[in-house]
């Protein structure tokens, strides 16, 4: 007697549910994208502008700049950064076989930050200030290098004989973050007090500096990572059974790990370079989705991208409307939501954590 659903689905198969969730999340992303284009400190109305456009009348320069040069690049940046952080979180958790791995927690973001700061200081562009450098792709590329180095080091530190220790991973992450912080501190010491304040704001995370030049510089890395990630899903599923079992199931384990590290490094590096330290998206989003539709990475990675993008867009809408015409750094918004959520996960799992 095999338990079969009326539609012929086997009980315990959540693939249908995951697919339906994808549609819901896609709709949510559309709503979030609309909100991101429609809501802002200025009273510019998207529907009115669209109506004008359809009626064939000219849109004034201010409206055009606000919609096309301010809100649109910010929408795209927010979507890519949110999706990148969430997908990177899911991939990192799959790689470490641990749902608590988060790019921010295990020092990967710190590595990306060090790369970005190095680019700023060593790029010889210090006088132009932090943001002056974002035009060229130097910052995203060095941030990528920094996060790649961090993930690789972390993997070497935390994995022994194919087994990744949670405690070693978290402690290794802390050690890595401390070391990168020391290097960053050295570079920051060389900066003047104006840049110091820039760095403080940058570390809080913000999409405020989103512009076409920055978006286009960081987009290739993030898009490549997002498009490559689904190819890892079968391997990450098998890896959930351990490296040996994954190998038995025909997965080229070493290649899978390298691929996962590169994807995480590219996504986190580029996202950090463009938006600073935005935390908790990488842990909250995949965790929620695993609760809702299960840990199958084929659905998890796609849905994480959709939900991460939506959440960051909505957080950004909050960050720019709550103290308008000024702005709250978005990292504060995500931390305020994500911090308690992370604690909740920890408390729920307290019994089963092997730390």
């Amino acid at each position: 007697m095999v338990a079969i659903h009326p539609e012929g689905h086997l009980v315990g198969d959540r693939r249908g549910l995951a697919r339906r969730t994808s549609w819901v999340l896609a709709a949510l992303l559309l709503v979030a994208a609309y909100a991101s284009l429609a809501v802002g400190a200025s009273g510019v109305s998207l529907p009115a502008a669209l109506a004008d456009l359809l009626a064939g009348s000219e849109i004034d320069a201010r409206t055009r700049i606000i919609l096309l040069d301010i809100r649109l690049p910010r929408l795209l940046t927010g979507m890519m950064v949110g999706a990148s952080l969430a997908v990177a979180g899911a991939v990192l958790q799959g790689l470490f076989r641990n749902p608590l791995a988060d790019p921010g927690l295990v020092g990967v973001s710190a590595g990306a930050g060090l790369g970005a700061i190095s680019a700023i200081v060593l790029g010889g562009l210090l006088p132009a200030g932090l943001a002056g450098l974002f035009g060229p792709a130097l910052v995203p590329v060095l941030a990528f290098a920094g996060s790649w180095l961090s993930v690789s080091l972390l993997y070497v530190i935390a994995t022994r004989g194919g087994h990744t220790s949670v405690a070693t991973m978290l402690l290794g992450g802390i050690a890595l973050a401390a070391m990168t912080a020391a290097f960053s501190g050295l570079l920051i010491y060389m900066a003047d007090d104006q840049q110091l304040r820039d760095l403080t704001f940058w570390s809080l995370g913000s999409l405020a500096g989103a512009s076409w030049s920055k978006t286009l510089a960081a987009a290739p890395l993030m898009l490549a990572a997002l498009l490559a990630a689904p190819a890892l899903s079968r391997g990450l599923n098998a890896l959930a059974l351990g490296e040996a079992a994954a190998h038995h199931l025909g997965i080229p384990v070493q290649r899978l790990k390298t691929g996962a590290i590169v994807v995480v490094a590219a996504a986190v590096g580029a996202a950090t370079a463009i938006s600073g330290g935005i935390g908790f998206v990488g842990i909250v989003v995949p965790h929620l989705l695993r609760l809702a539709t299960g840990p199958d990475h084929r659905a998890l990675l796609v849905n994480s991208g959709l939900l991460g993008a939506s959440l960051l867009l909505l957080a950004d809408v909050v960050s720019r409307s709550i103290v308008a015409p000024s702005e709250l750094p978005i990292g504060i918004v995500t931390a305020v939501i994500g911090g308690p959520f992370f604690l909740w996960i920890l408390l729920r799992r307290r019994g089963s954590l092997e730390i």
Partner: protein, 259 residues
């Protein structure tokens, strides 16, 4: 045919396997026995392609180390002693991980059939991590069966490698699992299993390889190999082999081959 010739494995500085010759034939259940630390698991890991080795191992005439993981996977499946699971998959999702091939011929979902085979029909939607150790082991067996569902494909036998498949099971399920392995061999597949229980080995195996201290002492049929002197020497304690009918009150698992 699985053929290992003069296989030596060194882990760190320790020589864990030393010049082992080992054969397993399709259509047979080959057991690997020996005391703890004798190199049983190392031998199994060598023939599943998990470990580097010196010597020669061939699968159907092909040198094992030259076969990439993706080509090896459809030809053999491996059940470990214990398989940890990182995320809260359901039983059905775990079993489906074994269905590595897509396309015509494999379109049918094997998951319900594999679960039925190991007697876990009602378990499909249960979270794997909440099952008992024995149940988890049977779910993993179902997954492994999915991977090599047809014991013979074309003219080539497929292989099941089992590392102590019955160690965490009660006596009824021990018999059930051994019977599944026996059936797999009976229709032409190859089975290699590490065994601790010599009575079950005597009941189900066609060939037994006895290891001690990293060396192969002997490989032969159970009737030939299970001798007082050899076993006592290998295990380092006095053992007596009785031939049925039993000459005293002890529990003897009853199975088809004895009847």
């Amino acid at each position: 045919m699985l053929d290992a010739t003069d296989v030596t494995v060194t882990l760190g500085r320790r020589r864990v396997l030393d010049g082992v010759n080992f054969q397993a034939a399709p259509g047979e259940l080959t057991a690997i026995v020996g005391p703890n630390g004798s190199g049983k698991t190392t031998l199994l890991r060598a023939v599943t392609g998990d470990l580097g080795y010196r010597g020669r191992i061939t699968l159907a005439g092909e040198e094992l180390s030259g076969i990439p993981a993706w080509r090896l996977a459809p030809r053999r499946a491996v059940l470990a002693q214990f398989t940890p699971l990182a995320f809260p998959f359901t039983v059905a999702e775990v079993v489906r991980l074994g269905q590595i091939r897509k396309g015509p011929g494999s379109a049918a979902d094997l998951t319900p059939r594999a679960l039925a085979r190991v007697g876990l029909c009602g378990y499909a939607s249960r979270p794997y991590q909440e099952l008992s150790g024995g149940e988890q082991q049977r779910v993993q067996l179902a997954r492994v069966l999915c991977q090599v569902w047809e014991p013979v494909e074309g003219s080539e036998a497929r292989w099941l490698f089992l590392d102590e498949p019955v160690s965490s099971l009660d006596i009824a399920h021990q018999l059930q699992v051994m019977q599944i392995a026996r059936d797999f061999a009976d229709v032409g597949g190859g089975v290699v299993a590490i065994m601790h229980d010599l009575n079950l080995t005597a009941m189900f195996a066609d060939s037994v390889a006895l290891l001690a201290e990293g060396r192969l002492l002997e490989q032969a049929s159970p009737e030939v190999l299970l001798r007082d002197d050899l076993l006592s020497r290998a295990y380092g304690c006095s053992l007596r082999v009785s031939t049925p009918p039993p000459s005293g009150p002890y529990v003897l698992p009853h199975a088809a081959r004895l009847g």
